[in-house]
């Protein structure tokens, strides 16, 4: 486990001890020269539920991919549970990923496996015994409400159901950290609520959850910590925040007109 479980997870004291995720002045410039993230610094404590919000291309997905060590930061350091990602050699990356559950917008299920096998795969990867797999997989699938679809293939499921499978797969190992990249991006509002509830339930077990989203309604309803990104910079970090900072109707109207006229306000460059 990446997180030493020295104390029971306390939801109300999220920043106690070593932060689960820490970005120190992280900059990511892609090969083509486009900036994914610029000087981002943030700390996310154990058991927190954090929304990363912002328009497309603001660096949300870059954050997620950096945490998976799919990308390397151009500058700065990322620590997970006190350990610098830069120090993890290539060969150990799979072991890092086993401690991070990920949920994607496009589900990323294995198309030629049943629901059961998709979830079982992430247990097989860590060398779990067959009995354990037989015990754990139906459990987690019951938790996400798919106990009747065990033997269906992903293409026989609805989007919401596929996302539930992917959540089950992300959480079946009980990783200390769960990342979700636009988990409701492809779903209707009704289904989205169900998915978000599921992710919230996972958070309630003491798991740190980071959700990248542009689902304004959801963020406003949930009222959790919000980190807002714009063009690669963190422009807001607020406990129990809204998708947009509070603003009056007049302010909104001014901003809207401004954006229509001259492009996004608060242009960093």
């Amino acid at each position: 486990m990446a997180t030493p479980r020295t104390e029971p997870a306390r939801r109300r004291a999220p920043t106690a001890g070593v932060p689960v995720v820490e970005f120190r002045e992280v900059t990511k410039v892609y090969d083509g020269g486009s900036v994914g993230l610029e000087g981002a610094t943030m700390r996310i404590g154990r058991g927190e539920f954090v929304f990363l919000v912002g328009p497309t291309g603001c660096g949300k997905s870059t954050c997620i991919r950096l945490l998976m060590k799919e990308l390397e930061p151009s500058k700065g350091e990322i620590h997970i549970a006190g350990r610098s990602l830069g120090e993890i050699p290539r060969g150990r990356v799979p072991f890092l990923r086993r401690n991070i559950g990920v949920v994607f917008q496009d589900y990323k299920l294995l198309p030629n496996r049943t629901v059961y096998d998709n979830v079982a795969y992430s247990l097989q990867v860590i060398g779990e015994s067959r009995q354990e797999i037989r015990r754990k997989v139906p459990d987690i699938l019951r938790l996400v409400g798919l106990s009747t679809k065990l033997h269906n293939y992903p293409d026989e499921l609805s989007g919401g159901e596929q996302q539930r499978v992917s959540i089950a797969r992300a959480f079946v190992n009980h990783p200390p950290l769960v990342l979700a990249d636009e988990p409701t991006g492809n779903l209707d509002p009704e289904t989205s609520i169900g998915i978000m509830q599921l992710i919230y339930r996972i958070n309630r077990t003491g798991t740190t959850v980071i959700v990248a989203t542009h689902d304004k309604e959801m963020v406003d309803k949930m009222r959790r910590r919000v980190i807002e990104l714009r063009e690669g910079r963190i422009v807001r970090d607020e406990q129990s925040g809204l998708y947009r900072p509070d603003e009056s109707t007049t302010e909104f109207a001014i901003r809207l007109r401004g954006e229509l006229g001259v492009g996004p306000e608060g242009h960093p460059n």
């Binding site: 799919e70 294995l110 198309p111 015994s129 797969r169």
Partner: protein, 292 residues
């Protein structure tokens, strides 16, 4: 448990993407078939060429009336020359008998002459036909007294050497080309079948599978495809050999060429090659998709 798991994964992969697997199997089958036909042909050709080259000899004629002492002196001189494989003494009478086999009515012709005009001679076989000139050179330098003349049947030798050399080079070139084409073809087909599943590999990486955990099933798939492709090819070859080649080999010397590869060896070689290329192809192609 681990191997069982990988095997089940491989079988699942084959079942769920049977079309590309079948394409790979067919490719292996066809190339193995072509190779299986071509290897013996190349071998028979070079074998025949080598046999012809074996006929390149150097005749060392002795002077008429050379004494036995002189004769053995020449023999030992010849035998101690480098590059000489064997030295054969042919007496006048033996030479005459040999001539009698080549030319008809020798007896009548000899009667005209009265005596046997042929000298005693040593037939020197070089260990490498291309070294004939070297032997000749060194003989000319330390020419023993009793030697009358050294002849290498020049025109014949040159022709043999150049013609067989060309045949051998051509056969070797074709064989190399064919082997290269086979490997490229098989690797490419495998690459296509894996390319179709690159998303799957990516997902596996994201849930924390190690490279070898992902790779083993693919390698085993490759082994299975290679094995069955090779097996089918070998079966077809065996049938073809039984029905066509064996009955004909009595009539055609080329087919019965003595130093063609043994059929069991050929089978083993083809099977190993099929399995190895197929498995390596799968394993190596994956590398590109594993870099996530």
């Amino acid at each position: 448990m681990r191997f069982g798991f990988f095997l089940r994964e491989a079988l699942r992969g084959l079942r769920r993407s049977s079309a590309p697997a079948l394409a790979a199997l067919l490719t292996v089958l066809l190339t193995a078939l072509v190779l299986g036909v071509f290897i013996p042909i190349v071998q028979a050709t070079t074998g025949t060429a080598n046999e012809v080259r074996g006929r390149v000899v150097l005749d060392v004629y002795l002077q008429q009336g050379a004494s036995p002492a002189e004769r053995s002196e020449v023999q030992s001189a010849l035998e101690s020359t480098t590059n000489v494989k064997s030295v054969e003494f042919i007496s006048k009478t033996e030479a005459l008998a040999e001539l009698g086999r080549k030319v008809t009515d020798t007896d009548e012709k000899l009667e005209l002459l009265g005596t046997n005009p042929l000298p005693d001679l040593f037939r020197v076989t070089p260990d490498d036909p291309d070294q004939l000139a070297v032997i000749e050179q060194s003989l000319a330098e330390q020419k023993p007294a009793a030697v009358d003349e050294v002849r290498n049947r020049e025109g014949e030798t040159d022709k043999i050497l150049s013609a067989t050399g060309l045949v051998k080079a051509l056969a070797a070139g074709l064989a190399a080309l064919l082997v290269f084409a086979s490997i490229a073809l098989v690797a490419n087909t495998i690459r296509l079948s894996i390319f179709a599943r690159r998303r799957e590999v990516e997902v596996m990486k994201l849930v924390g599978a190690t490279n070898w955990f992902i790779r083993w099933p693919f390698v085993i798939e490759g082994v299975i495809v290679g094995f069955f492709g090779g097996l089918l090819a070998v079966l077809l070859l065996a049938i073809a050999k039984q029905t066509f080649i064996d009955p004909l080999s009595d009539d055609f010397a080329l087919l019965a060429a003595p130093d063609t590869i043994d059929f069991p060896l050929l089978i083993a070689l083809l099977m190993v090659a099929c399995v190895a290329v197929s498995a390596l192809g799968s394993g190596l192609t994956l590398r590109r998709f594993l870099k996530v």
